[in-house]
């Protein structure tokens, strides 16, 4: 199994589709893997960790079937081998409560999903620029 650069946990097919398109447009070489279930995502990450592999960036939606985004976040940050993988919460909600609890559980950033494809591309390329290109040095 190829090690993804970005693991995107999202249950909305449309979002998955546009994010895939946007990432493809930004950088054709970035490997994006999407998973639509929280528990499955944790499982996948744990398997990767066994092979001493991990993604460079994790994008988490808040509302997920199986395991909620916040729970998944907590579980990842509790896992020794995964705790330094940057996690960005990527949600429609701009509720201050959601933002606060995400940061408390250790999210590295909280980004409200931008409205529209154009904004999405801008937003993702900024993320790509910062987290993928610079973080490789840290990792």
């Amino acid at each position: 199994m190829a090690v993804p650069d970005i693991l995107y946990v999202e249950d909305n097919e449309d979002f998955v589709d546009v994010v895939e398109r946007a990432i493809g447009q930004i950088d054709g070489t970035t490997v994006l893997r999407t998973i639509d279930d929280g528990a499955l995502a944790l499982n996948t990450l744990e398997k990767l960790a066994e092979d001493k592999a991990k993604p460079k960036l994790i994008l988490l939606d808040l509302n997920l079937p199986g395991l909620s985004g916040l729970d998944l976040l907590r579980r990842i940050k509790e896992t020794q081998s995964l705790r330094y993988v940057p996690i960005i919460m990527f949600s429609t909600s701009d509720n201050p409560k959601d933002i606060r609890s995400s940061l408390e559980f250790g999210a590295n950033a909280y980004v409200t999903k931008p409205l529209g494809y154009t904004n999405l591309v801008k937003c993702l390329s900024a993320m790509h620029e910062f987290w993928l290109k610079t973080s490789s040095a840290v990792a």
Binding site: N12, D14, F15, V18, R21, N63, T92, S93, D94, N95, P96, K113, L115, G116, Y117, T118, L120
Partner: protein, 743 residues
Amino acid sequence: MTDYQVDLTNCDKEPIHIPGKVQAHGFLVAVDNQFVISYASENISAFLPTQAADLLGQKVSALEHLLLQQEETGFISQLLLLGRHTKSFETINPYKVIINRADHNLILSQTGSYFLLEFEPDSTATEVDIHKTIGRSVSEMLAGKQLKQLLDNAAQQVKQLIGYDRIMIYKFLDDGHGEVIAEYKEDYLEPFLGLHYPATDIPKQARELYKKNLTRIITDVNAESSPILGMASQGEEKPLDLTCSALRAVSPIHIQYLKNMGVTSSFSISLMYKDELWGLIACHNYSPRFINYKAREASKLIGQIISSALEYKQDEANVQKNEQFKAAYNELSDMLRKGGDIGEAITQHETNILSVTDATGAVLVYEDKITSLGQVPDKADLENLVNWLKKNMEDRIYYTHQLPEVYQPAKNFSNVASGILACTLSKEMGELIAWFKPEQLSTINWAGNPNKPVEVDAHGVMNLSPRRSFDVWQETVRNSSERWTREEIANVLKLRDEVVFAINRQANEIRLLNEKLKQAYEELDTFSFTVSHDLRTPLSTIKNYSELLLEANQSLDDDAKRILRKVIAGADKLNFLIKEVLNYSRVGRADLEYTDIDMKSLVDEIKNDLVVALNIRDLQFEVGDTPLLYGDRTMVTQVFANLLNNAIKYSAKSNPPKVRVEGKETSTEVIYSINDNGIGIDLNYYNRIFDLFKRMDNVRGYEGTGVGLAIVKRIIEKHHARIWVESELGVGTIFYVAFKRNV
């Protein structure tokens, strides 16, 4: 007047049941449990060849020997044993004995541990065979349809039965005084009908005796009564209780009273109504008169028949009125049970609280409002009266027909409210209902001046004595209304229960409503969340794909592109609206986190964002003093973002747009003003600018959702702060927000 008050109420203390004497027309012997003679009246010597003192201490058989010898020895003991065994002498009395060749009646009774043996003549003044006539009399009496007629008939029939000179039906009124309400008499006598007698004429303990002995005869007021001797061995003279005695001597005061009236002999029959003394059939004779035991028992029977008729007739007399009251009560309670406004239910219909009594006015004091019906005192008088009632009403009900006597200020409005009947609804809230009856000037004809019971003798010494004059003495009674009837009071109590029940039920309904409201609020929370997530997600899809299509698909022509841009613009607008509504509902459920807010940086930050967003180049933005503001940072930011957004947006077309923000501190508040030179707000809209989705006529062409000021208002309310506005069309607007200082 002297300092020393003497009046006939002293009669109250006279122990009339133990006079120690008997009337002279018969004699009395009392035996103890062992049938040993313990008491005997001195006048026994007038009937039998013995002295009272000689009998004391002897067995009762000694008495038998003195009586005619044909009787078997031991008959008195046997009668006593029988009576003691059956606990009643009713079937034994009277027992015929012959004394001095004349028929006499022996009447037995028990008092404490003694047995009374009373001997009295069997001869009687009436020659009529009472038992034959009584049946006819009773049917004559009861023929009367109305109470008045019944009593008139009764007086006439009693006169025919026992033949006294004057028969009166005497009724006790509430305060104990009496009135002659029916009379049948010899023609030559002056009528007493309609005369009133003060309560003191028949003192309390006398009334008690009338309840125990339903008949009472005073044979001759001029005859010397005979003392009762007791056994010397008993040491102190222990007076014999003569409550049940037929021969009991009469109180000297009463004797004097009768003498003053010119009466020589009297007989009275008690009239009872529901175990209380309702009145008397008072029979007067102007010469000595005695009627025997049987005649007295027959009279007693008539009294009992009238008494039971009274219960029926008295009720019947008021039946019609009471039916009306009851119907009104039923209608009101139906209205109350329907729910709705309680005050309205019992005051705003044709049938209202006035209809449950004979009152001419009524007030309802409920929920801080006084609702008046009919004739009531003036507003100020009424308020004072209500306050007095609130303070002084101990029970759930209070009534008087003489309000000015207990509440002086009522003299000023006695014409509308001499009588009051009030019931509390809630003592804590001071809620009540009161009914009024007007003054009824009435004249009372007293039989003699009731206020002058004291006689002054020739030496100027005051004597306790009944009045000598029974000449009609008129008194005009003021400040009195018609009395409240038992039925009116009962109705009011029932209505009160019904109203209190309705109030409690309503309180429960409000509590339930509250619960539902809470539930709805929680549902709104869920709704907000749904809006936030479920609505925005498909909206994103619309916008994402529209943009993607626009950007990535080269085959689109210009028209298709323009249409797609419209879709995108629509999605943007929808997104903005959803966000605003979300913000609005979020204010409701958010908990406030109070902090001291640095307003300088907050205002600057907002301003910078807005200038970029609204793309205003020539804005002159001034910030004055910026005192700390105590509130929830996120929400206060929302308030200023909205107000500044409006200020900048609506002055954008001014040349140049000017906006000034400054804060001032008072002793209790921090007040910020946001002043612009924009389009202004129409005065008529001041009240409505804070309503949700309300936009003014002059803002066409300006972007907006109509949610911003509604959010501001909600936040302000949540902080218990204040907001107000000054504005002039075409000149500008100043919004003020005042937050409480941090103390």
